[in-house]
Amino acid sequence: MKVVLHVWRQAGPSAAGSLVDYEANDISPEMSFLEMLDVVNERLIVRGEVPIAFDHDCREGICGSCGMMINGAAHGPMKLTTACQLHMRSFKDGDEIWIEPWRAKAFPVIKDLVVDRGAFDRIIQAGGFVSAPTGSAQDGNAIPIAKQAADEAMDAAACIGCGACVAACPNASASLFTAAKITHLGDLPQGQPERMRRALAMVHQMDIETFGSCTLFGECQEACPKGISIDTIARMNWDYLFAAATERQGAEVGGTG
């Protein structure tokens, strides 16, 4: 099959970008979307042209490296699927495909489809952890955790940090990413001691990073390749409200950047 691509090309962080058209011929439906881009790039390299830069690594939908807007949808038309796991059988012969990078002030473009998602790491730094230094742990079975709690924590912990939630959100909000981590750790007994501090600090950092706010469009949940629910956002809001109401005077709220 053959498809026509309109790909965002941008030479560097401060360069102006534009959509450039490419024809991808001899594409087979078994190819993954990224393999289709490999084929396009292979031809560009042989012609001495600079290939399309895009982040990718595991190509099995778990590392969260890849991510692009495909025909206006984060990771493309298939639900619960990253770009690397999208296959060309989702398209028809002759289709036109628009490919753009994630767009958010907090995710500046580095080159072509590659963006800087360091803001996510800084949100985790603000409080997305349990302070349990190596060696300090008691036996793993010392605290029983109800199966349901463990399962719900796992639902939220499945986040791969790809940034599709931000990309798909009309407000470029990172609420789903932040809320998923707050929910994961907040669901478990190990996460309780830092739960309030975590909610305050992570929400604070999310704002510092210039993400937008949540207006519950629901686009993030739809775009999330791991199916994380916006229920986590309600959870974040409650934790935040409770934390703000019980915050002690002068309590330190973290935040970097």
């Binding site: 796991q85 800087d116 349990v130 912990a157 478990l188």
Partner: protein, 640 residues
């Protein structure tokens, strides 16, 4: 230059070695720890856990990864589980049994003392991860659940759905981020290590390239830790991430670190078969599927074209159950892979190209119900369906072996230090504890054992001997290494040829898979050793790298990695050719029993082959570390 291999295994009874050693090692005064700077390259399970733990101890740490975030290291893709000798199931497990299973699973090519220590700390790993909030699967009573994995008859693998590696890595990553914000770890994302710097015989720093700006820079430290993963991508098609490479460990090898057992590569039996020539990677289906799934091919070649449902029960060959009745579908990886290759070589393979076998869930679905199977493997089934467009609830999966893991790696002593003083190697990057074959759910265990518990204890013993000094990157050794890296980059860019790095990588992978894959023979390895240098010459004549070195240039990154694979592949084949025996993942066709099982040669090959770089164009020098088995009787490995 000859290397003296001293494994520095502590004396005394096996079970007491680690404790005794920890007492005997020198300690660094807590107030002095912050005077030491440790560089950790790689942010996977081993690298991230080491960085976080060293920082918690008080050392200053710089951590480097080539990904855009440390959370993306390829440990994240591990699906099935992590072993620990907890014996929560009361099914007869113990530290000793995990030790024994691992040594036997590795076909008696691992160090007893290291493996025993691994089994000992395995229990602490689970505790540590639980404390970090890793959401391991739980039973209704709230206690940790386990499942079985290949090569073991006890249930000792802890898991978080099919995303165990992800959850463990996120635990280590979060611990790392906690230390970053505390200011004691400096994180360098999108940085690739291109050389290690040796000053006065000690590893004192690295040269990196900033992948965004192209800037090549020197970093000085008191010790360097490599946690840069394995080299299965030497086969091009593998289950590794696209970015996985041998560059860091190979550069260290060229600077004098011995490379241990490079021919010990693991071919994983349950991967989705190759679909077409543009395939860029292979996807693993967790080995845990073999807990319930049954592997079979048609008994008769003529049936291969039929739909699986049309093949009657008596015409199916459940070959693993037939050949290995006591372990059956849970036979270890090397054995299951080779058995699959065998039936496909007989012409009984299924699917396109006849390179596939069925992994059938019809029985367990009938027995346990679709819902139970969905709960156990739902995400794996979905992944399979997404890739193949076939519904594994309705028809059997097709699977085929694929390159997956490197048991070989840089040689290290009991303290995880390479033959270069101050250069430590952790996780898959070292030659480590798995011998000639790694058991399922043991890679996560080893990566975290090294990073959380072993290295943080042993590195102090080295640092206590290395007084902090005022070395800077102006030292001639740093200038020289920096210039070398820049010159190599310039040389790559100057070729201006016509072929992409990927095309060379594919060609190399084809050679390696055909001649040095699941089964090897002397003639094939010699052919490979002729073909690889030719391909390498062509690479340096015809590589095409558009763009410049002063920007994000993924073609340049790839070319540098492929250039190293093109040299390293020769080392793998050289090692494979020299090892005139079959053991674990290394199967030499000349050395097999009448019924096709591996024939080990303990009299002549019970050693670690530690290869020493002797200069470009010169054959590497073989050093041998004899393996002594004082606690386990060397036996023929049998899973029948």
């Amino acid at each position: 230059m000859t290397i003296k291999l001293d494994a520095r295994i502590p004396a005394g009874p096996l079970a007491e070695k680690w404790d005794k050693h920890r007492f005997e090692m020198k300690l660094v005064n807590p107030a002095n720890k912050r005077k030491y700077h440790v560089i950790v390259v790689g942010s996977g399970l081993a690298g991230a856990s080491a960085s976080a733990s060293l920082s918690e101890l008080g050392y200053r740490v710089s951590c480097f990864c080539f990904q855009d975030s440390p959370r993306r290291a390829h440990s994240i893709a591990a699906q099935g589980g992590i072993n620990a000798a907890k014996n929560y199931q009361n099914d007869g497990d113990s530290v000793w049994r995990l030790f024994y299973d691992t040594v036997k699973g590795g076909d008696f090519r691992a160090r007893e003392a290291n493996v025993y220590r691994l089994a000992q700390v395995s229990v602490n790993i689970i505790d540590q991860c639980v404390a970090q909030g890793v959401p391991f699967a739980r039973e209704y009573g709230g206690l940790l659940a386990t499942r079985s994995f290949g090569g073991a008859q006890v249930s000792r693998s802890f898991y978080a759905r099919g995303q165990t590696g992800q959850q463990l890595l996120l635990g280590a990553y979060q611990a790392l981020e906690k230390e970053i914000v505390r200011g004691s770890v400096t994180m360098y994302e999108r940085h690739e290590m291109l050389d290690v710097v040796i000053v006065d015989g000690r590893a004192r720093g690295i040269i990196t390239r900033d992948l965004v700006t192209g800037e090549v820079a020197a970093h000085v430290a008191d010790s360097v830790v490599l946690g840069t993963g394995g080299y299965a991508n030497v086969f091009y098609l593998s289950t590794n991430a696209k970015g996985c490479n041998v560059t860091a460990t190979y550069r260290a090898y060229k600077k004098g670190a011995a490379f241990g057992n490079p021919c010990f590569t693991q071919i994983h039996p349950t991967c989705i078969p190759v679909a077409g020539e543009h395939q860029s990677k292979l996807t693993l289906m967790s080995e845990s599927l073999r807990n319930d799934g049954r592997v079979w091919v048609p008994k008769k070649k003529e049936d291969c074209g039929k739909k699986p449902g049309e093949i009657a029960e008596q015409d199916r060959d459940y070959y693993l159950e037939r050949k290995y009745p006591s372990f059956g579908n849970l036979s270890p990886r090397d054995i299951a892979s080779r058995a699959a290759k065998e039936v496909c070589d007989e012409g009984r393979g299924v699917g396109p190209g006849g390179r596939g076998v069925y992994l059938d869930f019809a029985d367990p679905i009938a027995r346990l119900g679709e819902q139970t199977i969905r709960e156990r493997y739902g995400n794996l089934f979905e992944m399979y369906q997404r890739i193949t467009d076939e519904d594994p609830y309705k028809q059997p999966m097709r699977i085929y072996p694929a390159a997956h893991y490197a048991m070989g790696g840089l040689w290290v002593d009991y303290n995880l230090m390479s033959t270069i003083p101050g250069l430590h190697v952790v996780g898959e990057a070292n030659f480590s504890d798995h011998g000639a074959n790694r058991l399922g759910a043991s890679a996560l265990m080893q990566g975290l054992a090294d990073g959380y518990f072993v290295l943080p204890a042993t590195i102090g013993d080295y640092l206590a001997t290395a007084k902090p000094d005022t070395l800077t990157a102006d030292h001639p050794a740093f200038r020289e290494a920096l210039d070398g890296v820049q010159a190599r980059t310039a040389r790559l860019l100057a070729v201006g040829g016509k072929r992409s790095a990927d095309s060379f990588h594919k060609e190399l992978g084809h050679i390696m898979w055909e001649k040095c894959g699941m089964a090897r023979n002397a003639a094939g390895l010699r052919q490979a050793l002729e073909a690889i240098p030719k391909l390498r010459e062509e690479f340096w004549r015809d590589i095409a790298i558009p763009g410049t070195g002063a920007e994000l240039n993924q073609s340049l990154e790839k070319a540098g990695r492929v250039a190293d694979f093109l040299e390293f592949a020769e080392l793998v084949c050289t090692d494979a050719l020299h090892r005139e025996e079959s053991c674990g993942g290394h199967f030499r066709e000349e050395h097999q029993t009448a019924d096709g099982e591996a024939k080990r040669d303990d009299a002549n090959f019970a050693y670690v082959a530690a290869w020493e770089y002797a200069g470009d164009g010169r054959a590497p020098v073989l050093n041998k570390e004899p393996l002594e088995f004082e606690n386990i009787h060397l036996s023929t490995r049998s899973y029948k």
